[in-house]
């Protein structure tokens, strides 16, 4: 089975601060990481490969040349190949233009039976690229995959996480799946894995290698216009009571009733 995992290098939002004046992210000194749910998608693909020797996992990303550091990490985890799509023409792409571009890159790589993506990237939190990508490629999709079992050749059983509970679905490949963090715990990197990752070649693609033109990608092809960014203010403060438990329970009951919670 050939699998392409779409990955993104993101700033580690656990360490991100917002500039109070410009309302943009302060990227200086913030480490870049492999988007966590993309790591879940890669891990699951590698587990399929562990069960089915001969399967192949390709990590694909669109980003600046610095994203190679993250691709090395994907190779160290066990990806067979890593592909970086980098071109000034793709800069500023919103989710629509990104999906256009990545779909084209997947076609350039000859497609795959399984396209695995993370649910969403922690910098944008849109969760749109995965579904749009499936549409562009004309593939069925299952989002929020929290469990995956490979059945007979080309048939997968997946659990799709819902707000309350989950769906069990059976799908035939080719298919696009999006992973949630509950799917697995990504493996630790071995020393040998890292050393060998730095001996491998990273394949570089540019827009010339794709079946799209600059008009289909980047800022020009992005219908999303950012009107304003701001840091939401927390206006409602919490209430803290410190007294005996019985009295607090009574107060809590009254407060919840007042707010029509109960």
């Amino acid at each position: 089975m050939k699998m392409i995992v779409c990955v993104k290098q993101v700033p580690d939002t656990a360490e991100v601060r917002i500039d109070p004046v410009t309302h943009t992210m302060i990227r200086d000194g913030v480490p870049s990481i492999l988007n966590p749910e993309d790591a879940n998608a890669l891990e699951e693909s590698l587990r399929i490969k562990d069960r089915h020797p001969g399967a192949k996992v390709i990590a694909l990303t669109m980003g600046p040349p610095q994203a190679q550091a993250m691709l090395r990490e994907c190779l160290a985890m066990g990806a067979d190949e890593a592909v970086l799509l980098t071109d000034r023409a793709v800069a500023g792409a919103d989710t629509w233009a990104t999906a256009n571009t990545i779909a084209s890159a997947i076609r350039a790589l000859g497609g795959a039976e399984l396209i695995f993506v993370g649910r969403q990237a922690i910098d944008g939190d849109t969760a749109q690229v995965g579904p749009q990508l499936a549409e562009r490629l004309g593939l069925p999709q299952v989002t929020y995959v929290q469990k995956l079992t490979t059945l007979e050749d080309g048939l997968l059983q997946v659990e799709r996480r819902m707000e309350q509970g989950y769906e069990v679905l059976r799908v035939r490949t080719p298919v696009l799946l999006s992973a949630v963090k509950e799917l697995n715990a990504p493996r630790c990197l071995s020393i040998l894995g890292i050393c060998e990752a730095y001996e491998k070649e990273i394949k570089i693609l540019s827009i010339q290698d794709l079946d799209i033109t600059p008009a289909d990608t980047g800022l020009n092809a992005s219908p999303t216009k950012v009107y304003r960014t701001f840091t939401p203010k927390t206006e409602r403060a919490g209430v803290l009571w410190e007294e005996d438990a019985g009295r607090m329970a009574g107060k809590l009951l009254t407060a919840l009733r007042e707010k029509h919670v109960i």
Binding site: A69, R72, E73, A76, C188, L189, S190, I191, L192, I194, C195, A197, Y198
Partner: protein, 377 residues
């Protein structure tokens, strides 16, 4: 030194592993003295046993800068864990890789790398510590066999070891050139290990005597050549020292981390104690010494990777880093006040773990002799 991207990724991955897999167990390992086999297997899976060992013998050949990174990051969370890694990468693994026969490599080195067997190195005796050459253990030839008699002491991991490299005198008249190394397996008649020592620190790495009572060992179990055991051991000492120095660096860094956290939280006289200049002077001294050690250690490791002689540098790194980590751990404990003396705070364990580092792998005084000898030669 400025690390390469690969070294940075290794540090990040070891730090992740240390936080996820080791840190939650560190206090328990120290208290119970039991090292979980599951964790041992994970160390093997990540290739931590074979960082300095060539690929063809089951290692990675990643070298000493990487080895120091791994030691530093793991020692920050659990020093006992690093003791399990030191031996296969230095005192035990290197002689096996460099002098072992193909059969010995297959039987001992490869399983050691895979975490299937744990071996250890037995040089020290009750009456032969720094003066290792004065050992009493003997090996007397008997046809194709040797009969070993004697007692080794303070042997790391001896209670759990599957095999031991034992140093014994084969020809007393030749001095250090009459000492031979033998691979002795647990289960060989006459081989036993003593009671587990009750130690001040690094309790998750069991230590005991190795007792040899008329142990019959075939000549094929000699590691290297007869009479070359002591010299073989001496050749690996530089590597062992730089690795222990990196362990000291990790211990000091963990003490520093705890100290900084505590002085920011602890309120006295109406403010966090970190705001007092007297406390800041202590912190700056600690941080400066840690980074002096760091510079010396990675510089020495890089030289080693480039094939340069590091006898003096490794001794200086081990001497400075081990003394430094005791000083930093003591100051960090002092900054915790009474709480630092309680077992509830990690600094108590860090302080106890630091203490052995100026003693094992050559005392500070022996390192000073080595340094001076290099200066005056």
């Amino acid at each position: 030194m400025i690390h390469t991207d690969m070294q940075k990724l290794i540090r990040k991955s070891v730090r992740d592993f240390a936080q996820k897999e080791v840190a939650p167990l560190a206090a328990q390992i120290d208290e119970t003295g039991e090292f979980p086999d599951e964790l041992y297997q994970k160390l093997a899976k990540n290739n931590y046993f074979g960082i300095t060992i060539p690929k063809e013998y089951g290692g990675t050949g990643a070298g000493y800068v990487v080895m120091c990174i791994v030691m530093e990051e793991l020692a920050r969370v659990c020093v006992s864990t690093t003791l399990h890694i030191t031996s296969p990468n230095t005192l035990l693994g290197l002689p096996l890789a460099n002098y072992g026969t193909p059969e010995q490599k297959k039987r001992y080195l490869l399983p050691e790398m895979r975490g299937e067997k744990e071996g250890t190195f037995a040089l020290t005796e009750p009456g032969a510590g720094s003066d290792a050459a004065s050992m009493k253990t003997t090996a007397v030839r008997d046809g194709d066999y040797y009969i070993l008699n004697g007692r080794k002491t303070f042997i790391t991991a001896a209670p759990v070891a599957d095999f031991v490299v034992v140093f014994a005198v084969t020809d007393r008249s030749k001095g250090t050139r009459g000492i031979t190394a033998f691979l002795v397996e647990r289960g060989t008649p006459g081989f036993s290990t003593g009671k587990k020592e009750r130690k001040m620190g690094v309790c998750g790495s069991p230590t005991s005597d190795v007792i040899l009572d008329r142990v019959r060992v075939h000549k094929s179990q000699i590691l290297g050549k007869e009479g070359e055991g002591f010299l073989m051991a001496m050749k690996t000492l530089d590597s062992g020292r730089i690795v222990v120095a990196a362990q000291c660096l990790g211990i000091a860094q963990s003490a520093m981390d705890e100290a900084v956290k505590y002085v920011k939280e602890r309120q006295q006289f109406g403010r966090a104690i970190g705001n007092f200049q007297g406390i800041q002077f202590m912190l700056s001294d600690m941080e400066t010494k840690i980074n002096c050690a760091r510079a010396l250690i990675y510089d020495t490791a890089q030289k080693k990777d480039l094939g340069m002689n590091i006898t003096k540098e490794a001794a200086m790194a081990k001497y400075f880093a081990s003394e430094m980590c005791n000083d930093v751990a003591a100051k960090a404990l002092q900054l915790h006040g009474g709480y630092g003396y309680m077992k509830d705070y990690p600094i108590e364990r860090i302080f106890r773990n630091a203490r052995v580092t100026t003693i094992y792998e050559g005392t500070s005084q022996i390192q000073q002799i080595v340094i001076a000898k290099q200066l005056l030669k």
